[in-house]
């Protein structure tokens, strides 16, 4: 018999590693427990109360996300008491939440509403007037905080603290006036915020949402297709998911927003930076180059083939070297280049042209 400690969950004996929470054990074994404030990357706070389970010998229900497994624990994640708990908790949430069925403007599914449907909770307990202050004057162009649909799960603030290490936003106020705010309610632009958009990504209700017009205009019922690709803004190589409206751009497809793959699946672990997440409009921009251009004798730019363009560039560079010597040249590579590309740039500079004048714009 194995020495590994076990708990009993829903009648099954399940082994666990020391330090694992009940939710960890459940998830690993395919037992579903609803959660809203949980994010595996963040320290648990047990604030949303959706994951409460019953532990034999404990008088009170306990949050699976914040309770460590202990050998011999007998845990129930489904029974009458838990069902009643879920239903009444969700009904209470709904008195303080917009009841519209459609997903939030961000196009993100609202996990709270989905849960209300799943557990057949009442949504007719009345509607309290919402007391959380938003920041309507925040002039940052990317992130909108819709206080009405915020459930104060604190995923956004914990993400900002624990993952980004930026702490631009925090829980503010108290009681039913608790909200998410910045110092002095400043615009995110005037705080330490790096506009990484992680707060949008972790928000379960769409209360943290994108301001980008494309997302705002996207019809709620739009079936977006995700296309996995590599962000080409820098050499880190973050994986990104382009959320594409296939019918957009006259059938060419339109990127409506960019999201990160699930945490734990790619090296960027669910994170993105401002460029990868928000700077995608160039893709559909009218001025975007689709073919190389070469300036002709007439001073104008003309379409050219890659072969011609590269040859003309090479000739020009060789000409400079002949006239001014190798050190008349300098090479600066783009911060979009990967490590390998940068290696090649310095190789070109040193081996082909014979100069050490080489730099990378992200090196300072």
């Amino acid at each position: 018999m194995s020495q590994q400690p076990r708990i009993t969950l829903g009648g099954r004996a399940l082994v666990f590693e020391p330090g694992e929470t009940l939710l960890d054990v459940a998830t690993r074994n395919g037992v579903e427990i609803p959660t809203l404030c949980h994010d595996p990357r963040l320290k648990p706070v047990g604030a949303c109360r959706t994951c409460l389970v019953e532990i034999e010998g404990w008088q009170r229900l306990a949050p699976a996300c914040a309770t460590q497994a202990q050998a011999g624990m007998v845990v129930a994640s489904e029974n009458e008491r838990i069902d009643r708990h879920r239903k009444s908790l969700l009904a209470l949430y709904m008195t303080d939440h917009p009841q519209e069925e459609e997903p939030a403007k961000s196009g993100t599914p609202n996990q709270l509403l989905a849960m209300v449907t799943e557990f057949e909770a009442a949504s007719d307990w009345g509607r309290l007037s919402q007391k959380r202050a938003g920041r309507p004057g925040d002039r940052n162009p990317y992130i909108h905080y819709d206080a009405d649909s915020c459930i104060l799960c604190a995923r956004c603030t914990r993400y900002c603290d624990e993952i980004e290490g930026v702490s631009a936003i925090a829980l503010a106020g108290r009681g039913s006036e608790t909200t998410i705010s910045t110092a002095d309610e400043l615009s995110l632009l005037d705080t330490t915020c790096e506009i990484c958009g992680g707060c949008i990504d972790v928000c379960p209700t769409g209360a943290m949402a994108e301001k980008m017009p494309l997302v705002q205009e996207a019809r709620p019922d739009l079936q977006l297709e995700t296309v996995r690709t590599t962000c080409n803004y820098c050499g880190v190589g973050c994986q990104i998911d382009l959320n594409v409206d296939r019918a957009g751009e006259d059938g060419h497809g339109r990127i409506v927003k960019v999201t990160s793959p699930e945490p734990g699946t790619t090296t960027n672990d669910g994170n993105l930076c401002v460029k990868g997440r928000f700077a995608y409009e160039f893709v559909h921009h009218g001025d975007r180059l689709t073919t190389p251009l070469v300036r002709g004798k007439d001073g104008e730019l003309h379409d050219a083939s890659w072969e011609d363009a590269l040859r003309i560039a090479a000739d020009g560079l060789m000409g400079v070297r002949e006239r001014h010597g190798a050190d008349g040249l300098g090479f600066v590579s783009s911060s979009r280049c990967t490590g390998e590309e940068n290696y090649l740039v310095q190789k070109v500079a040193r081996a082909v042209f014979g100069t050490n004048n080489v730099h990378q714009c992200a090196a300072t």
Binding site: L52, A170, S176
Partner: protein, 538 residues
């Protein structure tokens, strides 16, 4: 660094010194202390004395103060154009209505006092006969009772450290054995056996340990800690020192209600005297001023606040005895519990045990509302309401209902007047002794209003961390207000109240949310006719 060398714990005080949450303050203070700006904002907006620095006067809206005409005082101050707001219980229920002027509680303020101040908030004084410098409420017994009582509020302050010497003589093991024998239960509300905590802390492998004093008294109806701190600071300090030495702690943190300006001063002076006599050697004392949040009376919220954060309760387990202040083993006690310790050490556990009836010890009962002499009464644990009120000069009018232990205990009908006021007997009646803040009501103050007062209190004081309490306290208050409004179509306003209450009790993280429905549910149970009959809340 995650201990007191971490400057973050000074954040609330720094915000206070910078004048509270005015524009620019959180950013400036954040830079000084070295915390993120948003965190300074989050902390500053959590505590009401920091959040609204423009209010210089705060009129208590607690039940006892409202019964004594606090509303009229508030209204008069508003009409006089003073910078005033209503505030949760100020621990002055016996000298109601109480008003906070900056950080000084003024007892017994009348609308007439407000008029006489002629619009100048700084000139507001109580003319009720109590000096604002050293005011004390009425206490029982009325003279020193050195033989019979654990706390002896009228006793002379003893700066000789007699109990400290005794504790040193017998050593930590025997001190803890005496505490165990005494049967001392936590006097803050939970009634948890003290010796289990002491042993718990003492047995930890971690040697950096703390003793914390919970002097954030804020439960409506309760003011005994205020009285103890002013009258017997010696007992409090001796108790802390004995506890620290017994559990092997070198640092003692005192969390005092920020509104307790007078007790703070008394305590500091007494500490100085003890220090001068060489009785505090090897111990650090840190005084922390609360900034206005009832929830910080919850021990883990208090620890968070001591660390300079928003006072949001932690999950238990782990308990503070294992993972407390800065994650270190921490013994945390209410003022009254710790003040019982010197007596136990001097006279032994059996003596203390014998002071009570079914449960051990004498107990400070606070009584306010419709009685002749509101005040703090030290009596055997387990007296009945009638016995208590007899000492307090009798009922004013006919007893209608009472609240046995603060807002969190709900209401009981007059028929329960003979029930022993102790932990077990009250919990059997579906309520609790809590902080033993007894509020007595005759029928001149409508019970529905009393319930509404308590619901407003919980709504204002919920920390907002967890949904059942944050939304539930708001939901219940709103439902009752609609029920009591004149509009006839609000007859089904209480429709989901019992299910919401069940949820708050099951789902909330801490005792605040769990107990918050009790004023309403107990009143619906015992006084259904007040709310339009038993079917109103079905």
């Amino acid at each position: 660094m995650t201990d007191e060398r971490d400057a973050k714990h000074a954040l609330p005080r720094a915000l206070q010194q910078a004048g509270g949450m005015r524009e620019g303050v959180p950013r400036r203070v954040a830079e000084e202390i070295g915390v993120p700006e948003a965190h300074a904002h989050g902390v500053g907006t959590f505590f009401h004395m920091l959040a609204r620095p423009e209010a210089r006067l705060r009129v208590c809206t607690g039940l006892s103060c409202r019964m004594a005409g606090g509303d009229r005082v508030l209204k008069a101050a508003q009409e006089a154009g003073m910078p005033v707001e209503g505030v949760s219980c100020l621990a002055g229920c016996d000298v109601a209505p109480a008003v906070l002027r900056e950080r000084r509680v003024l007892p017994d303020v009348r609308a007439q006092d407000v008029e006489e101040a002629k619009g100048d908030w700084q000139a507001l004084m109580s003319r009720g006969g109590l000096s604002e410098e050293s005011w004390c409420g009425h206490v029982w017994p009325e003279r020193p009772d050195a033989e019979g009582l654990a706390l002896d509020l009228h006793g002379a302050i003893d700066l000789d450290g007699t109990a400290l010497r005794r504790a040193e003589e017998i050593g930590p093991e025997r001190v803890i054995a005496a505490i165990e024998e005494s049967g001392l239960q936590g006097r803050g509300g939970a009634g948890f056996p003290a010796h289990i905590k002491w042993k718990g802390v003492r047995s930890q492998a971690e040697t950096r340990r703390y003793v914390v004093l919970n002097a954030d008294e804020g439960e409506p109806g309760t003011f005994k800690d205020r009285e103890l701190l002013v009258r017997r600071p010696d007992r409090v300090i001796e108790g802390l020192v004995i506890a620290a030495r017994a559990v092997g702690a070198e640092a003692i943190w005192l969390y005092l209600r920020g509104e307790f300006e007078v007790p703070w001063r008394v305590l500091e002076e007494t500490l100085e005297a003890f220090r001068g006599a060489g009785l505090l050697d090897g111990l650090e004392f840190h005084l922390h001023a609360g900034q206005g949040a009832y929830i910080c009376g919850e021990e883990t919220a208090l620890l968070e606040a001591l660390e300079g954060k928003r006072g949001m309760p932690r999950h238990k387990p782990p308990f503070p005895t294992e993972v407390g202040l800065w994650g270190k083993p921490t013994l945390i006690h209410n003022v009254e519990t710790i003040a019982c310790v010197p007596g136990i050490v001097m006279r032994g556990g059996a003596w203390f045990r014998g002071l009570g009836r079914e449960e051990p010890g004498s107990k400070l009962y606070c009584v306010s509302g419709h009685v002749a002499r509101p005040g703090t009464y030290e009596l055997p644990l387990g007296v009945t309401l009638d016995e208590l009120v007899e000492k307090a000069g009798g009922y004013v009018g006919e007893l209608f209902a009472f609240s046995p232990g603060g807002a969190s205990s709900g209401f009981l009908p007059a028929s329960e007047r003979g029930r022993p006021l102790d932990f077990k007997s009250l919990s059997e009646a579906g309520t609790m002794l809590g902080s033993a803040g007894v509020v007595v009501l005759n029928d001149s103050y409508p019970l529905r209003e009393a319930v509404l007062d308590q619901l407003r209190f919980f709504e204002a004081e919920s920390c907002g961390q967890c949904a059942p309490c944050r939304i539930g306290t708001y939901f219940l208050r709103d439902a009752l207000e609609r029920r009591l409004s004149a509009e006839a179509n609000q007859t089904d306003a209480l429709r989901n109240v019992s299910e919401a209450s069940w949820q708050m009790n099951e789902g909330s993280i801490c005792g605040l949310g769990q107990a918050a429905p009790l004023p309403l549910t107990s009143a619906l149970k015992h006084f259904p006719e007040e709310f339009g009959g038993p079917e109103a809340a079905s």
